[in-house]
Amino acid sequence: MSTTSTEEERSTEARGDTILEVNDLKTYYEDGGFLGSNPVKAVDGVSFDIQRGETLGLVGESGCGKSTLGRTLMRLEEATAGEVKLNGTDITTLSGSDLKQFRKDVQMVFQDPDSSLNERMTVGEIVREPLDVHDWKTPSERRERVRELLETVGLQEQHYYRYPHQFSGGQRQRIGIARALALEPEFIILDEPVSALDVSVQAKILNLLEDLQNEFGLTYLFIAHDLAVVRHICDRVAVMYLGNMMEIGPADEMFDQPANPYTHALLSSIPEPDPTIERDRITLRGTPPSPRDPPAGCPFSTRCPVKIRPEAYRDMDPELWERIEVFREVLRERSRADPSLSDRVRKLLGRESHRAGMDEIIPELFGELDVPSSVMTHIREAADYAENDDEDAAQTYLHEEFGSVCDHERPDQLTVGNRGRLSLCHRHEPEYEEPAAVFETLVQ
């Protein structure tokens, strides 16, 4: 990644005892195309590190790559590029007995206790399985260890001979945790461990996880989409969007003063359990773009409410600017959607295709607004391209006219504040206004 981020890494390394170090990690899912395959870029160049004994939260919307990242750290997925160093050893290339040893040190707790526990095995067998696999001591010592573990996670010894279906969701998650603890790992990846649970049960599991961390000096990577939970349990938080790490830093600071526009929007969209709060909610429009075809510039540029505008359009009516962004979104959507068979036939027959219809969309988007003629010319021009089924040309045209540094250039991770917070946004460059300041003006 950028020079700033590597420098930052070195400084954090010096600060404490780093257990895990991730450098420019990429995980792509190839679709096995022979030529010109277009992989899903699930994790697209991510760097961070985790200190011993800390809890790093990993948050983001579904499909942002947080689970893939967790699974890549576990070697459940193969990394496409980059390195993952656990205690200084790169684990992406491990094999044989080294790999087996690594699997002892890192464990995982999964989201859904239903699918991660074998219904045909007793609780004792489930928790004992890792011990059996790694040939831990003698069988009777293993049984003793399992009983101990059950107690540790708040179950009872006599649960040894019961089956998972006899337990509630919270208890089943405890079984999963006991299994993860069996080999005394130092690092545990918790992939949405409480998402499937009711709040009152969730609270118990969170308390248990904190107790275990204190007792055994564990390091957690806590993957979740519930930000309230993350704020409660994590020391530092990393926010992912479309395979990129948008912001990483101390939890309290980040929740109080989000630096990155995406973090800002994400936090403002969480409903607070307090009906009296008057909030200036930033509702993002649309959905994240496809990870097969991420934007060329900033990953968040297609939805960013505080995107940098080109010089000429700085003073444009925000409503109109928003509509232009929606128009670009529509074109993007259209070029992504495969033409249906009937569309193709229509085209062959020289009839008007359904995909055209620009004379409907333009009034729909811009009808009620007072559009300056100079802007309208550009919109018409783009619409003409689209009318001729050339969405790409239309997009390029709009890109050149209304695009900015956010569309053209991938931002660097820049340092924010003085506690090692990093944020991926052009607006932290000195020549632009900070995102927070722009949000201020937006909500007014």
């Binding site: 009711d198 009152s200 959905t287 959607a337």
Partner: protein
């Protein structure tokens, strides 16, 4: 669309929907489970009534009972569901079919299961328009496009010809809402409509529901387990526990001064309630019981930190919590707050005897 813009407060006018003493049970070989056990509440026009509770508390069965969608081995055993002056439980299956999706519409949790994968989204909206409003052909198409635009789907002219799989999760839920709105309902029942969605998309859908409600003066019944969502969208909240409504209050009142120990516990177990990072979360001991017998005691008593001897022998009924609170009821022997303990218990004992079966 809707021409009526009569804004109504709770005090004036008839409720849109009034549920009285509803009980829905499921008959299994082993036991009879009273999934919904004697609940009563009203929904007014233009009002959002939230129903919260943990899984298994009977929220969804309540919604399905109103729509008469309870399937074997479930049975609605008791109570009345008054809508428009008539009891929905007396309606024939045919009458029910025209009410469902007509004047009462429902939005489910998972939009994919409520959309048919082999028909275009437009077709499915048009089906509702044809069945309930007799529209067909290009008129129906035009109306379908307008509905999709109304729920904020850009490029609706093209989208109307697309299939559900071509829509993203948030778009699908928007399409389902468009379908629900197709016949100009008066009451919209939303069963965890945002649970399967990401927060940024959830925010979009909640905003949309608020807009629609304002435009059409809809009554909304909103089921969720997320206290944050409830705080955001509801005007009034009913808290369910083991098939019963244990507390009912206007939303601000409920969050500011929850009265029932269960509600208090539930609110305290949410992370981030002005809690220090290092502080432990409050928990509720034990698990939600299965309501499988006559309520002769308080179902929350085994887990309740404030339980006393009478809790095991007297079934609490909903009572006003005190003088100061307006329209705030709790089913707990601790209330009414202004009465001494014995008298309060006596109120519940009497109330329990009075309320008999009506069906």
């Amino acid at each position: 669309m809707s021409t009526e813009q009569a804004s109504s407060t709770r005090t004036e006018g008839e409720p849109l929907l009034s549920i009285e003493n509803l009980r829905t049970s499921f008959y299994t070989d082993k036991e009879v489970i009273r999934a919904v056990d004697g609940i009563s509440f009203d929904i007014f026009r233009g009002e959002t009534v939230g129903i919260v509770g943990e899984s298994g508390s009977g929220k969804s069965v309540t919604a399905r009972s109103i729509m008469r969608l309870v399937e074997n081995p479930g049975r609605i055993e008791n109570g009345r569901i008054m809508y428009d002056g008539e009891d929905l439980l007396d309606k024939s299956p045919k009458q029910m079919r025209s009410i469902r999706g007509g004047s009462i519409a429902m939005v489910f949790q998972d939009p994919l299961t409520s959309l048919n994968p082999v028909y275009t989204v437009g077709n499915q909206i048009k089906e509702a328009l044809r069945l309930h409003r007799g529209l067909s052909g290009s008129k129906a198409t035009k109306e379908a496009i307008e509905l999709l635009e109304a729920v904020g789907i850009p490029d609706a002219h093209r989208r109307v010809r697309e299939y559900p799989h071509q829509f993203s999760g948030g778009m699908r839920q928007r399409a389902v809402i468009a379908m629900a709105l197709a016949c100009d309902p008066e009451l919209l029942i939303c069963d965890e409509p945002t649970t399967a969605l990401d927060v940024t998309i959830q925010a979009q859908i909640l905003e949309l529901l608020e807009e629609i409600q304002e435009e059409r003066d809809l009554g909304i019944m909103f089921i969720t387990h997320d206290m944050g969502v409830i705080a955001e969208i509801a005007d009034r909240v009913n808290v369910m526990y083991a098939g019963e409504i244990v507390e009912s209050a206007p939303v601000v009142e409920l969050f500011e001064s929850p009265k029932h120990p269960y509600t208090q516990g539930l609110l305290n177990s949410i992370p981030g309630q002005g809690l220090d990072e290092d502080e432990r979360l409050a928990t509720i001991e034990g698990d939600v019981p299965t309501p499988n017998e006559d309520p002769t005691y308080c179902r929350f008593a085994p887990r309740c930190p404030k339980a006393f001897a009478e809790c095991d022998t007297v079934h609490p009924v909903p009572v006003d919590v005190g003088d100061s609170a307006d329209d705030h009821r709790a089913s707990c022997l601790l209330y009414p707050e202004d009465l001494p303990s014995e008298e309060a218990v006596a109120v519940h004992r009497e109330g329990g005897q009075r309320g008999g079966d009506t069906r």
